[in-house]
């Protein structure tokens, strides 16, 4: 008798738990519904349709017609597109390594507890608070060839600075400088968090074994920071391949095509010329390039870790 009651009790509990579980699942779906629905509408569908669009001649005014690989073939002969790719490669090759090295060096310096460390950290971080447009505007004035801050300071030491933004050879370098100025603070903070994550015991035991400072750096700090470096490297790279704001605000892609970046071209082609099919093909080509570079990075990173 008692045995039987226990059985039914268990049964009721199981049913109740099942009901509770179902209620919880329903609430779970409801809770994620806003994010998922918006994701489908504004990310999921666009990714698929971007791919489709790149095979059409869609121009907003008429209906899209399938043109096969025509857009992609056109890309290979599009000198301006090739130029924009070379421009952005130049930018990435300059910007990313400089960003990694500078933010690492600064983070290492600030990782010691000396008076003023917090103040320095704050100062280095402040440029990162500015918007790309405000920074671009301020730097347009700093880089003014006659009255700008940079060339005036250079003239103190007898150097005649170039017309930074009007010169094809210095325009992109100027953008590298501006974006470095803006970006170092944020990555410095990420590096500092990474440094905090390296166990102090590692350093202590290495010191006991008689390791010197350089050995500590090369055998503990750098390997300990590898995930951080990888993260900063890959995020800076993905971001810098999509350079737009500064190239748009400071130089309008010029002089000539010296700072025309792929995103600038996509914006222009898609929203000014309304060649959305062709612009989508450009966007996908850029996506593939970014992807290839990311995969190479992942590979290099994992093979280094295996060593």
């Amino acid at each position: 008798m008692t045995y039987g009651t226990a059985q039914t009790d268990k049964g009721i509990k199981a049913v109740k738990r099942h009901k509770l579980g179902r209620y919880q699942a329903i609430m779970g779906y409801l809770f994620i519904a806003p994010s998922v629905v918006l994701y489908i509408i504004f990310t999921g569908i666009p990714i698929i349709s971007a791919f489709y669009l790149s095979f059409t001649n869609y121009d907003v005014l008429s209906t899209a017609k399938w043109v096969g690989l025509k857009n992609y073939k056109k890309l290979l002969d599009d000198e301006i597109f090739i130029t924009s790719l070379l421009n952005i490669l130049f930018y990435v090759v300059m910007y990313v390594p400089l960003m990694v090295v500078c933010s690492l060096l600064i983070a290492l310096l600030l990782n010691r507890k000396l008076p003023g460390t917090n103040l320095f950290r704050t100062i280095y971080y402040i440029p990162g608070l500015t918007s790309s447009i405000a920074a671009a505007t301020v730097w347009m004035w700093i880089l003014n060839p006659e009255y700008g801050l940079l060339n005036q300071i250079l003239s103190y030491v007898g150097i005649t600075g170039p017309a930074w933004l009007a010169n094809t050879s210095t325009a992109m370098i100027s953008i590298v400088i501006v974006t470095l100025w803006q970006g170092i603070g944020g990555n410095m903070v990420i590096y500092m968090a990474g440094l905090q994550g390296i166990p102090a015991t590692l350093y202590e035991s290495a010191k006991l074994d008689g390791a010197n400072k350089w050995q500590l750096f090369f055998y503990i700090t750098l390997p300990g920071l590898r995930p951080t470096t990888f993260f900063i490297f890959i995020m800076s790279m993905i971001g810098s391949f999509q350079l737009f704001d500064q190239a748009f605000a400071m130089t309008q892609g010029g002089p000539g095509y010296a700072t025309t970046t792929p995103v600038y071209l996509i914006y222009n082609e898609g929203f000014n010329q309304l060649n959305m099919g062709y612009a989508s093909a450009m966007a996908f080509a850029l996506f593939v390039i970014i992807l290839v570079f990311s995969i190479i990075n992942f590979r290099l990173n994992s093979s280094e870790q295996e060593e």
Partner: protein, 293 residues
Amino acid sequence: MHRESVGKKYMEGILYYILLIPVAIIMILPFYWSLITSFKYNEDIFAIPIIWIPNRITLQHYIDAFTTVPYARYFANSFYLASLGVISNLFFGSLGGYAFAKLRFKGRNLIFRILLSSFMVPGIVTMIPQFLVVKNFPLVGGNDILGKGGTGLLNTYWAIVLPGAAGAFAVFFMRQFFVTLPTELAEASRIEGAGEFRIFWSIYMPLTKPALAALAIFTFQAGWNNFLWPMIVLNDPQKATIQMGLQAFSYNRNTEYGAMMAGSLIAIIPILVLFVFAQKYFIKGIAFSGMKV
């Protein structure tokens, strides 16, 4: 021996500042330079050599910035848009993040992974179709049910708020925080018969204040500084954001450096003020984004 190491320490300290101070100057000088320019008379702006400490100042450039273009309006527009972004991301991000961390349902991990994968897709790839989605949004802006005939959400703030209302980053960020909170809290309330939303809202949400603060700042800054997307979907000058206004101003009046600097500083001020009051949350937010990959 002892004296030698003290001397070495001392030298190191000096070297430390010799390295740090010039970098600090590079970082801060552009602000000082734009600040003094914004208060100088035009003749002083174009003086050679540089007048480092102006002996007379004017507010004319600030007046120009607000009167030649509706800069106050742009400021208010951006503030409104960034604030809406914060509110919606905090709410939907927490709601979704909580569900992914604490509720059990089929497909939870798979859906979460799909959401996360959007980080890998560069924004530029989805920009054009996103524009088309906005333009062809059914039943608004003169569109029929198939999204044809009108302009959809273009030129409305929905075009900016809606696509980013529940960003994958907000969901991810909040999930990582909820995961660290104990599950027993929910189980105890469930036994007492509390509903799931109440458990989320009155038990877990009050515990997430530091995470919410960091996310709020992160979202506000992103919204405030956003440029390309608003420029694409808005063409009514009355609706323009501050970044659009500043860019147009410096493009059209590219020799009026005083007003350009005044405009730039005004465009930076809200974030600077936020930073002064909530520095640790800025640092937390950005350090977090680096730690979790």
